[in-house]
Amino acid sequence: MKRLQQYTATARICAKGVFDGGLLSVAGEYLVRFLQLILLVQIWRSFGESSVLPDGMSLPVLLTYTLMASVFRQQLDIITPATSALWEGSITGRYLRPCPVLGGLAAETIGRWWIPVFLFYSVPVLLISPLLGISPLPASAWNLVFFLISLALSASLGFALDFIYASMAIRMKNGCWAAQMVREALTQLFTGALIPFAMLPGWAGQLLSWLPTGSIASAPLSIYVGGAGSSPLYLIGLQLFWNAVLWPISLWIFHKSEERMISYGG
């Protein structure tokens, strides 16, 4: 309970920091995101009208997939302040707080990105999506339930991967931003957030869906929209497998890097 209080306080202060900037500053970022969504939706529309979509992927399904990828982008692409804190040297401060460092970083992520984006981007976009001709509804009530489970597993996997990236970054010192750049460049393609794997050539889609990154966006989104090749239990099972593999690695490599983090960060 006390721990929860600590995390809530951290998340709250991070969220306030964003809101304190006034509407203009947050609106700019959300407007760019919305623009991106509109553009992708229009591209898919023209695509759906001119090309024959693969089995199980109709235009409405494709649009719902894209909408949900945008709405839950923060949860499907976890970037904690770990890497930047390492680079700035502010990671040391996190070790001086009476709560676990990883938990604190997760709380900061929730406060700084999840809450503001959900309130001022996700909810409004969901509400206006019917006006854009996109259905925000899941394939069925069960799909929604499985989606929520899958989303939680996806976020968990995202945190594990982020901590691995951060630990690698500290070892790469000046090359840490190179790792960050590669990660950002590959995320959209490898997670399936931008282009559903079903749209790619069969071998490529299959290969990407087996990777841990495939469990991050493609799995929950495919479950949400339903359709062929998206058996919820199979996808959730795969997510559980990757969580079970990556979390121990993440914790091990993070703890192995801690000394370096503190001495470098200090």
């Binding site: 306030k16 809101f19 304190d20 947050v26």
Partner: protein, 336 residues
């Protein structure tokens, strides 16, 4: 380009400047979040109010004040980074906001907590970068490089990456870089911040030397009053954006009425009559040491010594000036 200011032109001429900032206010309450998003609450802060002062060429002036008094704001205005809300500013006869480029060739600005060095390059490469950006002629650059290398003992640092320097070394390198274009006026914002005793001494010696021997006008801010007193002949004190005092350190002591200190050490069995002595105010008693403050305009030294000579058991008498830190702390407290 001729870069010489006529000697009769003031180094700084600040006339009645006011600088108003707006500062965002937050209650910290969740219910105010929406209100802040749409209409952020702001408060106007007068960082400087009706400030006027002049500094002649060749002066070494200390610019002091409590936190938030407006010191850094003044330096930013003098450097052309900020524009005053009203009033006029002239640095070497130029308006910083109008003639920024020309002015930057003639002045040097150092913010103690910032660096102009290139992080991933050796110090010398940063110096060469400055040579190019400032378009410093080869002969001047070489001469100044030799000078700062020798006087700041930069020899071994020149080929070290800036990221690997200690704070003291970094400050020395920054100061060296600042002087490469032979600035006529230096604005130094807390240059001794965080430096150890030795690094501080080196910096003070160097600054005094370039002021004395090259006639460089220096305006320096610091919270370390002893440093300021050692460096500067004149102290300008700011209080909440107003000019509170402008004169020498001795005048400041005189104004505060605590010009001197007498420290009397007595033997263990003595002490009677030490609590009240004519012309002296007891400040502190520790073990057998009594420290008094006196104002020499009100009490003559002869009277004080006469009073002390009447007492028995005195082992030692030490006369000293009031510590400037104490004088200024008293002032700051009176402004609150």
């Amino acid at each position: 380009m001729e870069n010489m200011a006529a000697p009769d032109i003031l180094a700084l001429d600040i006339v009645d400047i006011t600088k108003i900032y707006s500062q965002w206010q937050r209650t910290g309450q969740v219910r105010d979040i929406l209100r802040n998003l749409i209409h952020p609450q702001k408060k106007e802060i007068k960082a400087l109010e009706g400030l006027s002062l002049q500094v002649r060429q060749g002066e070494f002036a200390a610019y002091a004040g409590a936190n938030g008094a407006g010191k850094s704001t003044t330096i930013k205005i003098l450097s052309g980074i900020l524009k005053p809300t009203s009033g006029s500013v002239r640095v070497l006869g130029m308006d910083p906001s109008v003639s920024r480029l020309e002015l930057m060739r003639r002045i040097g600005v150092l913010f103690g907590q910032r660096t102009e060095l290139w992080w991933d390059q050796p110090v010398l490469t940063s110096f060469e970068w400055k040579k190019s950006v400032w378009n410093i002629p080869d002969s001047v650059y070489k001469e100044n490089l030799d000078m700062v290398t020798e006087l700041l003992d930069l020899g071994e640092l020149l080929h070290t990456f800036s990221r690997e320097l200690s704070l003291g070394q970094r400050m020395k390198a920054d100061l060296g870089m600042l002087l490469l274009h032979s600035p006529q006026v230096l604005f130094l914002d807390e240059p001794t911040l965080g430096l150890d005793v030795l690094a501080k001494r080196d910096m003070i010696t160097f600054l005094k030397k370039i002021n004395k021997e090259r006639g460089v006008t220096i305006v320096v801010t610091s919270h370390d009053m002893d440093d300021l007193e050692e460096m500067a002949r004149r102290i300008i004190l700011l209080d909440h954006g107003h000019l509170a005092f402008d004169g020498s350190f001795e005048e400041l002591r005189r104004v505060q009425g605590g010009l001197g200190r007498v420290r009397v050490t007595v033997s263990e069995d003595a002490g009677a009559g030490m609590q009240e002595l004519p012309g002296l105010t007891l400040e502190e008693v520790k073990d057998n040491v009594y420290e008094y403050a006196y104002n020499h305009e009100k009490s003559s030294m002869q009277d004080i010594l006469k009073a002390l000579s009447c007492l028995s058991g005195i082992e030692d008498v030490e006369l000293k000036r009031a510590p400037i830190e104490e004088v200024i702390a008293k002032l700051y407290r009176s402004w609150k």
